[in-house]
């Protein structure tokens, strides 16, 4: 008998604190699979961010330092510059990366920091109770957009992957989802690519993963999962936005 699926080794054997149906768990697993695949568990130093994923260090069997809200790309820059032989990744939510930490992510990307970024877009601030994020969809009601996000008031949802793909320092940029088996396969491949980008010294590897937050969306897990394809993907199209293959990164 052959094992076709099991818990990745670098994922600590414990329960996640995430709410039922929250995709953070799935995304954690995919990242752990990449750590295993590239055998970087023993050389990885990750920078955790502030949000529902702050407990990264409880779930991955790797060294982790906690960053202030939004600053993980700067923390990772410091780690990687001082330890170029280590594998360094950050895992950030959309409040963390696309609001308070925009300067840090854009400049880490622009400097071509050789790090891997997992960006989890769930259109809300999960940890603090579902307030509006820069990624909140137009019309979406949150605890701080009770009438629905209105572009005249709050602007449009921000598309980070498209923005970052423009920067020369980014070696790989993709947006993926984990709401269906087909999307999952692509998400897994993209995360692997973002790992390879760092290992092959091609600059920042960036993957945006569309994620549910059933709790703060006020939906059941199945309904929340459906929202990804119904509402998010049309505005946040999936795909590979940038992929350097050669040494055109100078």
């Amino acid at each position: 008998m052959k094992t076709v699926f099991e818990r990745p080794q670098s994922l600590v054997d414990t329960s996640f604190h995430f709410c039922p149906g929250c995709h953070h768990g799935t995304i954690h697993r995919l990242v752990a699979e990449a750590i295993d695949e590239y055998k970087v568990r023993e050389t990885t130093i990750a920078a955790a961010s502030v949000g529902c994923s702050v407990f990264l260090y409880d779930y991955f069997d790797i060294d982790v330092v906690e960053s202030p809200h939004g600053r993980a790309p700067a923390v990772a820059t410091g780690i990687k510059r001082a330890n170029p032989d280590k594998f360094v990744f950050v895992y950030q939510g959309d409040g963390d990366l696309a609001a308070i930490g925009t300067a840090e992510i854009i400049h880490a990307a622009n400097r071509g920091e050789n790090i891997t970024v997992i960006f989890v877009n769930n259109t809300v601030y999960g940890m603090t109770g579902g307030q509006m994020a820069p990624t909140t969809m137009l019309g979406q009601r949150t605890t701080t957009s009770p009438y629905g996000r209105d572009f005249a008031q709050d602007g449009y949802p921000i598309r980070m992957t498209e923005m970052l793909a423009q920067l020369e320092g980014v070696g790989y940029a993709a947006r993926v989802a984990v709401d269906s088996p087909a999307h999952l396969g692509k998400a897994r491949k993209a995360i692997m690519k973002a790992f390879a980008t760092q290992i092959e010294n091609r600059g920042m590897g960036f993957v945006e993963v569309l994620c549910t937050c059933p709790t703060n969306w006020g939906m059941g897990p199945i309904e929340a999962n459906k929202r990804i394809a119904a509402e998010m993907i049309p505005y946040f199209p999936l795909g590979v936005y940038k992929e350097r293959t050669g040494s055109d990164f100078m």
Binding site: M1, K2, T3, V4, F5, E6, R7, L11, S15, F16, F18, C19, P20, G21, C22, H23, H24, G25, T26, R29, S180, P181, L184, P214, G220, P221, I222, N225
Partner: protein, 67 residues
């Protein structure tokens, strides 16, 4: 026949595996697990192909699949 190991204690009864199993092999049970959820169970073992779609869709890494 494929072997499905279900780590019931970890299940949060989100239903994603049930929704995506192409063979309708899974259902949420009536019992409670230590977290207070009705954990998933394999109700149609004969139909299971070991495709591992359930395992991949599960956010809580509840399954192990062998075949």
């Amino acid at each position: 026949m494929p072997r499905l190991t279900i780590h019931e204690d970890r299940c949060k009864a989100c239903g994603l595996c049930v929704e995506f199993c192409p063979k309708d092999c899974l259902a949420l049970s009536d019992k409670f697990n230590p977290q207070g959820y009705h954990p998933v169970e394999l109700v149609n073992p004969d139909e299971c192909t070991g495709c591992a779609i359930c395992a991949k869709m599960c956010p809580d890494v509840v399954f192990k699949v062998e075949k």
